[in-house]
């Protein structure tokens, strides 16, 4: 609490930029973990924002109506507040800026978050995802692959998990030697085994080859990986970096495998850009989603200029290449980038999603993230800025993986058990540190932090609420569900992810959702079926008794699940098609959203009274309408759906 300068500010206005009418007045509270906005309405609607989700707090110059404060969150939600007193605003800004950047792990929310779980249940919860079970699910043949204890106590590689799968034919000397020849000791190990073809996906970091160095151990290691796939005569080494970047690394003693030294490998560069390019690209994309009232051209141009979809395509391309090699050609693949914890994780996990229907289920996706990301040392705390640290370490690596999955969901609407909401939840939790799963940068660090004893696991929580994350169109026996996914990569298949990046304005989120509707339909059918059977039973009983008096069967229709009929306030309240500059609440002035950019501000020609009137006519028309109080009465019932972020008990 010592960082909270002002715990409570009254008469704060929460501004809805697209529909200023929907702005609400309320009280702002700052707790040690959350910012809470409570509306002054009868409903006392609450909006909770976790401090650790706040990415930045911007204060605009004070104007006569107050001091505007913009809170931007890492899950791309934006809250615009208007605080009456400048001093309060400064205090809130200072408090939030400090609270959103914890300086040590101990300050993270997960160490305070307490869902009242008993100790044994907490331990059980941490065992919910079991990677050993996952490797045995893959059906790894024991004669070809072995589990090695070499990394016990993280002796071999401190960013790898303690349990590693390596080819049976590789002796400990070989893989220890190989680890020495790989950047940060991240030697080639098994990530995924494809039972149908016996081909595997292995991962590592770049070799320390420089211009001429070689290691016979590393060469033997690759040979052993190739041999563990008995039918194939060569293997791919996929370097996910652009070739130029890989070559540049040779100058610092790193680089890529020399095809002359390694027998029977084929080297393939994919060209995924580095984390700095991705960070800048995403920032541009966020700016596109953040524009107040862009024209169609502004939007499309901004989207193109950000390059984001191009990068998403590159990640997907990498996955497709690997999946094709493994499934169609039956060739094993070794994937690496520089350190083997960003692009490599992306490429391996996208390929796994394409290859194995299991990873397209809710549980499977959890397993995949736990395996390819958490256990293999993806630097969550650095990449998602959990602590106040080097901004150059921050990059949306996981965001891109989740988006690749989303883009696949667009192409194969029946293939995934989970829905978009699941991906968005995962994304939020990656940043929020409410649970301990994504805290720290590798398994060793997590062990040292004693996360299993001090924090809770996200997975059982998501699993309990899986009904909310289920795609109603998913069916295990659907043709899209089975086998390897072969997505198109034509440019038009890549779309702007509105559910993720279009959340800056709350009034935009008023669409009807067919998924929710379908889920309710399903539930309703089940209930009806149950009802039918009880009625039949009763009928049978009645027949047996031959009871003459007709008993009225209870009608439980009213107890049934409600189908999501569109909310009245959602449909019934128009956006401001006149969106105005007359709102005095913000200093930002936006052109009316419905005014076309093509609309010329026709300068009145002198000596032409009609032209003058035409012009002023137009202007006054706007002003008049916006000053009108709404006659349709939709304002009165206007508790718009609001996002409550991480409401915690």
């Amino acid at each position: 609490m010592e960082h909270v300068k002002t715990p409570k500010v009254e008469n704060v206005r929460m501004i809805d930029r697209l529909t200023p009418r929907k702005s609400t007045v309320g009280t702002l509270y700052l707790s040690s973990t959350h910012t809470i906005f409570v509306e002054n309405t009868e409903a006392r609607k609450e909006t909770w924002v976790l401090h650790s989700l706040v990415s930045n707090v911007e204060r605009l110059p004070t104007n006569p109506s107050g001091s505007p404060l913009i809170i931007r969150c890492q899950n791309f939600q934006v809250y615009r507040l208007l605080i009456p007193q400048e001093k309060d605003c400064l205090d809130v800004q200072a408090s939030l800026t400090r609270l959103s950047c914890p300086e040590c792990y101990g300050e993270l929310f997960c160490f305070f978050f307490n869902p009242n779980l008993k100790k044994d249940l907490r331990e059980k919860a941490w065992g919910f995802i079991d990677l050993k079970a996952e490797f045995s699910r893959m059906g790894i043949p024991r004669n070809l692959w072995q589990l090695t204890e070499a990394n016990h106590e993280y002796r071999l590689c401190d960013t790898y998990p303690s349990e590693l799968f390596v080819p049976k034919s590789a002796s400990p000397a070989v893989f220890v030697g190989s680890a020495k020849f790989r950047s940060r000791g991240r030697l080639p190990v098994l990530s995924y085994f494809h039972r149908d073809t016996s081909a595997s996906i292995c991962r590592s970091s770049q070799p320390l080859s420089g211009f001429s160095a070689r290691s016979s151990d590393d060469e033997q290691m690759l040979q052993a990986i190739m041999k563990s796939n008995p039918v194939s005569e060569f293997m791919y080494v996929v370097d996910t970096r652009p070739k130029l970047n890989a070559m540049a690394n040779r100058a610092v003693g790193k680089g890529y495998e020399n095809e002359d030294h390694y027998t029977n490998i084929k080297l393939q560069f994919i060209g995924i850009e580095n984390i700095h390019v991705m960070r800048n690209s995403q920032q541009k994309l966020i700016d596109v989603g953040d524009q107040a009232s862009p024209s169609m051209s502004d939007f499309l141009w901004g989207l193109e200029n950000s390059g984001w979809l191009k990068h998403i395509k590159a990640v997907l391309d990498a996955g497709i290449f690997i999946a094709k090699a493994v499934a169609e050609d039956g060739v094993s693949v070794l994937v690496h980038c520089s350190d083997g914890w960003d692009r490599t994780a992306q490429a391996c996990s996208v390929a796994s999603v394409l290859l194995d229907p299991y990873y397209r289920t809710i549980k499977g996706m959890m397993v995949l993230i736990e395996k390819d990301w958490v256990s293999f040392g993806h630097k969550f705390s650095h990449r998602y800025a959990h602590l106040d640290g080097d901004p150059k370490e921050v990059s949306p690596v996981m965001d891109q993986f989740l988006e690749c999955v989303w883009q696949l969901m667009q192409q194969f609407p029946c293939a995934f058990e989970f829905n978009e909401r699941f991906l968005i939840q995962l994304h939020t939790h990656m940043y929020s540190c409410q649970y301990g799963n994504f805290v720290g940068n590798c398994q060793k660090e997590r062990r040292d932090l004693k996360l299993h004893e001090r924090t809770h696991s996200l997975w059982p929580h998501l699993w309990e609420n899986r009904a909310e994350y289920t795609n109603p169109l998913y069916r295990t026996n659907h043709s899209q569900t089975q086998g390897v996914l072969k997505p198109l990569t034509t440019a038009y298949c890549f779309k702007f992810w509105k559910g993720m990046y279009g959340r800056a304005e709350k009034s935009m989120g008023s669409n009807q959702s067919p998924a929710d509707c379908l889920n309710a339909v399903r539930e309703e059918s089940q209930q009806l079926e149950e009802e039918l059977s009880t009625h039949q039973e009763r009928l049978a009983q009645l027949k047996e008794k031959k009871a003459p008096g007709e008993r009225k069967t209870t009608n439980s229709l009213s107890e049934r699940v409600r189908r999501p009929v569109p909310n009245e306030c959602e449909l019934g309240s128009p956006l401001d098609y006149f969106t105005t500059t007359t709102t005095t609440t913000t200093t930002e002035r936006h052109p009316p959203s419905f005014t076309l950019p093509l609309e010329p501000a026709a300068p009145p020609k002198s000596g032409d009274p009609d032209a003058l009137s035409a012009c002023s006519d137009f202007e006054s028309g706007v002003a008049d309408l916006s000053s009108h109080s709404s006659s349709a009465g939709d304002d009165a019932k206007d508790p718009d759906s609001d996002e409550v972020v991480n409401t915690n008990a």
Binding site: E304, P413, C414, G509, S513, V521, E524, S525, R563, L598
Partner: protein
């Protein structure tokens, strides 16, 4: 010249047909006056292809001379004729399908190509297929069209007090592009209407388009007033509009041109309603692209969609450059504005551009979809199209003579109607439960408007249809759509009637490319079709388990507002 005279070669054997989603087929190609037929003759009764020649927008032919090659290469032709050459015809259809025919024999190939060229560009309406289409299950005696102005008036009780049906145009002399009967304010007599019509381009005087069920405010539509450079006035026109206001203080004129364009229109005899003469009306200008520019936008978009390159940057810049989505954006925005004037501010609106036959109709019909639940049902939507487009005199024949592939010089082609369907699709995507009809209906209409067996979209106005006896000699598409047994495919399984207005989001992020139409013949659209089938089967399962009647009961009783969804979910709106 008889149609059959265009056909020089009626049959060709051993033609190879390539079409999307199918392996190449070998079979016989036939050409008739109106159709291109193809069969592999394996199953006697079925045609693999039955294509209306009217649907063909462009063909490209290339001929190869194979003389000098050993003759055994053509043994497959069973030696019926000496074939030493072959040709390929690429057929690009108005519904954006692309087919390829490999035809043995240069002469046959050229003959087929020239027949298609001649038959696909017939100008005479009487020779078009709807006049020959006589399916056994339809009778010409049946009703043509769904409703007339009189019927609409009779059904709409809220009009009876202050509005009347005028037959002043019964011989089409007042306005050649209007139907015989129109709805005008009760207190305006026919003489005034005639004079007001002389003051409007093409005689399209202000008529009622829609009367809002909540507050009886109205949408009127017309063409531009002929004020000209010296600012002419017309008392009757002013009185007519005054009568529309019916005592209320204010009305809005939504002019679909920029203020500058409206000014310029005066130089050519057109103009706008000046503030001094129409003191109770406020004018708002909303610029809409029209005519040739809109057609070129469609051409560019279709070209972009046909580019299967893998560069995301290039795709986005082509999409942006086509401007099609910008047109969708402005159409929905203006419709939203009109709807807001009525619903929120309680004022009547007059909509016009120049001629009042394109963007005007687009805006008035979209505003009705936003406001009026009746127009969101299947029959209501078709009635809306009939009233606001067919009877209101949208010149379909001129606008839809060619589509996006044609190399012909553009005349009066303009995809206004396609833009309406796209905007309707955007509404449906944003409100997947609010419309009773499905995307399949919109796709069917997009196809029928360019090439049809039915007479519905023939001609440019009621007058022309009357003169050619369209109603007596063709079948009506709308009747057939409503009657057809396979109606299910045109229904939205998730439909849930709402009495509320549906306000579309016009933020660029909320508008999407209509993949169902523009990428219809790609694999991308196929997966979505599968998903839609899945959706139907879930709903059907539900209905079976619930029993139809009970299901109907539950559907109609659950109209209470629901808990709002926490997040905006549009993952399934692609369906």
């Amino acid at each position: 010249m008889e149609l059959s005279e265009h056909i020089k070669t009626a049959n060709v054997e051993d033609v190879i047909l390539k079409q999307p989603f199918h392996p190449p087929l070998k079979g016989t190609l036939c050409i008739t006056s109106h159709h291109l037929l193809f069969s592999d003759r394996k199953e006697e009764s079925s045609w693999q292809l039955l294509l209306l020649i009217r649907n063909i927008d462009a063909i490209e032919k290339s001929v190869e001379n194979l003389f000098g090659y050993p003759s055994y290469t053509t043994k497959a032709s069973q030696g019926k004729r000496p074939v030493g050459s072959s040709g390929t015809i690429t057929i690009k259809c108005k519904d954006l399908l692309i087919l390829q025919l490999e035809i043995p024999g240069m002469e046959e190939c050229l003959n087929i190509a020239s027949s298609i060229e001649a038959l696909s560009t017939l100008e005479s309406v009487k020779e078009m297929y709807p006049f020959f289409y006589r399916p056994s299950h339809l009778s010409l005696q049946g009703p043509w069209g769904l409703s007339s102005t009189e019927q609409y008036y009779k059904q709409t009780e809220r009009l009876w007090d202050s509005w009347r049906v005028s037959k002043v145009n019964s011989d089409y002399s007042v306005c050649p592009s209007y139907p015989c009967a129109v709805i005008v304010p009760r207190e305006v007599d026919d003489d005034m209407v005639v004079r007001a019509a002389r003051f409007r381009q093409g005689g399209r005087f202000p008529v009622l388009s829609y009367c809002h069920h909540r507050n009886r405010m109205v949408i009127m539509r017309s063409s531009q007033p002929l004020t000209g450079a010296n600012r002419k006035r017309c008392k009757e026109d002013e009185l007519l509009l005054q009568a529309v206001l019916d005592g209320s203080e204010l009305g809005y004129i939504v002019d679909l041109r920029s203020a500058q364009q409206a000014q310029q229109a005066r130089m050519t005899g057109g103009g706008f309603e000046s503030k001094t003469c129409y003191s109770h009306w406020k004018r708002l200008h909303r610029y809409h692209e029209r005519g040739k520019m809109l057609q070129e936008s469609l051409i560019k978009l279709v070209e972009a969609c046909g580019d299967h390159s893998h560069s995301v940057d290039r795709w986005l810049s082509k999409l942006e450059n086509s401007k099609w989505l910008s047109h969708v954006h402005s159409a929905l925005s203006t419709a939203g504005l009109v709807a807001e004037c009525l619903e929120r501010d309680g004022h009547s609106v007059l909509v016009h551009g120049s001629e009042g036959t394109d963007s005007t109709l687009l805006v008035t019909s979209l505003a009705q979809l936003i406001l009026d639940p009746a127009s969101r049902t299947l029959s209501g939507f078709l009635c809306l199209l009939e009233r606001e487009w067919i009877q209101a005199g949208h010149p379909f024949q001129q606008r839809c003579a060619h589509s996006a592939y044609s190399h012909a010089r553009l005349k009066q082609e303009c995809p206004s109607f396609l833009l309406l369907l796209d905007c309707t699709w955007q509404l449906w995507r944003q409100f997947p439960l609010a419309l009773e009809f499905s995307e399949a209906l919109l796709l069917r209409l997009a196809q029928e408007v360019y090439a049809s067996e039915y007479g519905t979209f023939l001609c440019n106005s009621e007058q022309e249809r009357c003169a050619l006896g369209v109603k007596q000699n063709t079948h009506c598409l709308f009747q057939s759509l409503l009657r057809s047994g396979n109606g299910e495919q045109y229904l939205n399984p998730l439909y849930e009637r709402t009495e509320l207005a549906i306000w579309p989001s016009v933020h660029p992020q909320s508008l999407q490319l209509w993949t169902g139409l523009f990428l219809r013949w790609t694999e991308y659209a196929q997966n979505i079709v599968e998903a839609r089938e899945e959706l139907w089967s879930i709903v059907k399962e539900h209905r079976e388990s619930a029993g139809l009647e009970r299901n109907y009961y539950t559907l109609s009783t659950h109209c209470e507002p629901l808990t709002p969804f926490e997040n905006l979910m549009d993952e399934l709106t692609i369906l």
